[in-house]
């Protein structure tokens, strides 16, 4: 148990340093070096998120007792992991385009929109699963509680998803303006 606590503290400190460094380099004006470092951070961050989802799937398999809840938990983890992989795929494509200095292209706005939609789907998954678990708990124990997630990540998913939709719209508009500018001779 102390090993587990030490491990959790180490992970928390590592993530803290990780986020602090991301904030530090985001404030820099150098496009290329900032993008290069951010790409590495996003790649590593997303891979950690995907791996943590896989670990959570295994833990949920071991820890849960009710049969229906086991199926639900595994299903939720599989869906979440799939969405995270799709988000990772879109992020990598977006980062590659940014690295090639292809910034104002319509494809990028579709990637951002896709990422936003996937975050909203993640939120929807959390809500639906939370609702179903709530109903099952009510039928079993007479105690109805909707449990979205232990860390309220559903709200983060919704905010990120909606923010991405707004960014996608702005990027689409920017693409149009950029194209007009490029075609002004």
């Amino acid at each position: 148990m102390p090993f587990l606590v030490a491990l959790m503290v180490m992970i928390a400190v590592a993530i803290g340093i990780f986020v602090g460094y991301a904030i530090h380099i985001s404030k820099k004006d150098n496009y290329e070096s900032t993008l290069k470092i951010l790409t590495v951070i996003v790649k590593v961050g997303m891979l950690v998120a995907i791996l943590s989802q896989v670990v959570l799937t295994i833990i949920s398999l071991i820890a849960t007792t009710s049969d229906v809840i086991i199926v639900l938990a595994v299903l939720k983890q599989v869906i979440t992991t799939t969405f995270l992989i799709l988000i990772y795929n879109n992020v990598i494509k977006l980062m590659n385009n940014l690295a090639k200095k292809e910034i104002f292209i319509t494809r990028n706005s579709y990637y951002v929109k896709g990422i936003g939609l996937l975050f909203l789907y993640l939120a929807l998954t959390e809500i639906i699963v939370g609702l179903i678990v709530g109903v099952i708990m009510f039928r079993s124990y007479g105690n109805f509680t909707i449990t979205f997630s232990s860390d309220s990540s559903v709200f983060v998913y919704i905010i990120v998803g909606l923010a991405m939709q707004i960014i996608a719209k702005i990027l689409k508009m920017a693409c149009k303006i950029y194209e007009e500018n490029q075609l002004t001779i």
Binding site: E179, E180, L183, T184, I185
Partner: protein, 73 residues
């Protein structure tokens, strides 16, 4: 739509697109965009340079053509 029609004036001046692009200091690719009608806008400085090079008025090279999808029936 407004089209930039340079063909006749270039013929009159016995000039090629490449020569015109060099004189007005734009790339051949951009001149091609201008001639093909893909350009969204033309800068006054570019129009001024073309008119100087071809010794003409803006009206001689800018033509209005009705868009097929804009024709009211």
């Amino acid at each position: 739509m407004i089209r930039v029609d340079l063909t006749q004036k270039l013929k009159e001046k016995n000039m090629t697109s490449k020569e015109l692009a060099n004189i007005i200091d734009i790339t051949e690719a951009n001149l091609s965009i201008l001639r093909s009608g893909k350009a969204k806008a033309i800068r006054f400085t570019t129009l001024d340079a073309i008119c100087k090079a071809l010794d003409c008025e803006p009206g001689d090279i800018l033509k209005f053509e009705e868009d097929e999808d804009n024709v009211y029936q």
